[in-house]
């Protein structure tokens, strides 16, 4: 249901991006996520990018988790 994997955008041509997923490059449709730049990460589901991965939020989440773990 919720299968989604993050990948890095390598190239964009019109509404298709070449995305690196674990070392393999795949053609991914940007129809649902048009506002993406090379170098950004996207979440991929059945051949489509469905959302950008927000690196800032990822970092903040990890920092918070680290703090929580260390405070124990």
């Amino acid at each position: 249901m919720c299968l989604g994997i993050p990948g890095k955008v390598l190239e964009i041509e019109k509404n298709v991006a070449k995305v690196d997923v674990g070392g393999v490059s795949r053609d991914i449709s940007l129809d649902l996520c048009p506002d993406v730049s090379v170098g950004e990460y996207v979440l991929i589901h059945t051949g489509f990018a469905i959302q950008k991965v927000d690196e800032e939020e990822a970092k903040e989440t990890l920092d918070l988790l680290r703090q929580m773990a260390e405070a124990i």
């Binding site: 051949g47 489509f48 959302q51 990890l62 405070a71």
Partner: protein, 373 residues
């Protein structure tokens, strides 16, 4: 801790950014300590999504949690909740001349009333697995003399992709592509579960990727009308542990809000582009779920002019629907029973010989219990 040993990043893949960091064992141990320090009041939390069920088993989350916290598996497996009638219809269509059926992989092995798509394929029907709705377009273009029918299942993560395929088919004037739509909407099913007297849910672990599309507004009724906490959660072990901790905190503080744990991909407004694609093509309609039955507004109806692609417009003779009388899949999907309570589990029903869809799908609760126990 034994369970944590198997969390190390996969040796085959190079470092997976946004995945490996969320499997950090030291942080996990800290989170588990935090969870143990929250109240010892017994709580039942439901993880709605099949992918959460798999992650929870894969990372041994249940074994890491204190005993007063029970995790229930919910109906978030689109293969599992597809009713037999839809599979029987796909089978009936596959037996017709010049027809190609396309669908996502797991659907092939789901038993219908008397057969399965895989069995029909072995008998000579043209039935193909696709990985993306765009493959359906490709197959229709490559086979202009055939009618291509896409058995489309999925929740809101997948629905925008189905809508894109339909919009493109219309744009490109493709006349031979049709859809057997069995998609479902998650929020109405949550209403049904929360209204049910058969299962006690103290908090909801909300699906991470469905929510990248929906955002949090569609879930507000959970706190407003049902006064329960809900947390949109990711799928790595740290995500799940943090999500559970956030729920426990709300319960302890007597709060009921919809919160986001999975902030790196879920935003309150969801994905408006994706949502608008769905509603260009569809409007909310009745949904028929295995186990939960008919839930109003939990499915879709085609809007004009896309209804021309709705294969249900055709008059097809379908065999009467039957379900195995001892299959507990319907109750397992609602968190009322566990697979361990099913007489058929393991003895008769297992991945090589599935009786119901919960054993077929890799996200099915029965399949996951079988694999990890």
């Amino acid at each position: 801790m034994r369970a944590l040993r198997s969390w190390s990043p996969s040796l085959q893949l190079k470092h997976m950014k946004f995945i490996d960091e969320f499997r950090n064992k030291e942080i996990a141990e800290g989170l588990i300590q935090r969870i143990r320090k929250t109240s010892a009041r017994p709580v039942q939390l439901m993880e709605v999504c099949g992918t959460h069920t798999v992650s929870i088993f894969r990372y041994g989350i249940r074994g890491l949690l204190p005993k007063h916290i029970t995790l229930l598996s919910g109906p978030g497996c689109p293969v599992c909740v597809t009713p037999n009638a839809d599979i029987d219809l796909a089978i009936a269509l596959s037996r017709q001349k010049d027809t190609i059926i396309v669908t996502f992989g797991d659907m092939m092995r789901v038993p219908g009333s008397t057969s399965s798509l895989q069995k029909e394929k072995a008998e000579g029907s043209d039935i193909r697995i696709i990985y993306s709705s765009l493959d359906a377009l490709k197959i229709a273009k490559e086979n202009p003399g055939e009618r291509v029918v896409f058995l489309a299942i999925g929740f809101e993560t997948t629905s925008p992709t189905i809508a894109v395929a339909i919009l493109r088919a219309k744009e490109e004037k493709l006349r031979n592509l049709f859809f057997l739509d069995s998609q479902k909407r998650v929020p109405p099913a949550l209403i049904a579960l929360l209204q049910s007297k058969r299962v006690k849910i103290d908090g909801l672990i909300l699906p991470g990727h469905v929510s990248t599309i929906l955002g949090t507004k569609p879930y507000r009724f959970i706190s407003k009308d049902f006064d329960r906490p809900a947390v949109v959660t990711g799928f790595e072990p740290l995500d799940i542990l943090q999500g559970i901790w956030m729920l426990l905190k709300q319960i302890e503080e007597n709060r009921a809000a919809v919160e986001i744990q999975y902030r790196r991909v879920v935003h309150e407004e969801g994905n408006p582009t994706a949502l608008s694609k769905i509603y260009q093509v569809f409007e909310d309609g009745e949904g028929h779920w295995r186990g939960l039955g008919l839930i109003p507004d939990s499915g879709y109806r085609f809007k004009d002019p896309y209804n021309k692609m709705d294969v249900r417009n055709f008059d097809i003779e379908v065999e009467p629907t039957k379900e195995h009388p001892e299959c507990l899949c319907g109750e397992v999907l609602q968190g009322i029973r566990s697979p361990l309570e099913c007489r058929l589990f393991k003895e008769v029903c297992h991945p090589e010989n599935p009786i119901g869809p919960c054993m077929v799908s890799i996200e099915g609760t029965c399949h996951t219990y079988f694999k990890y126990q």
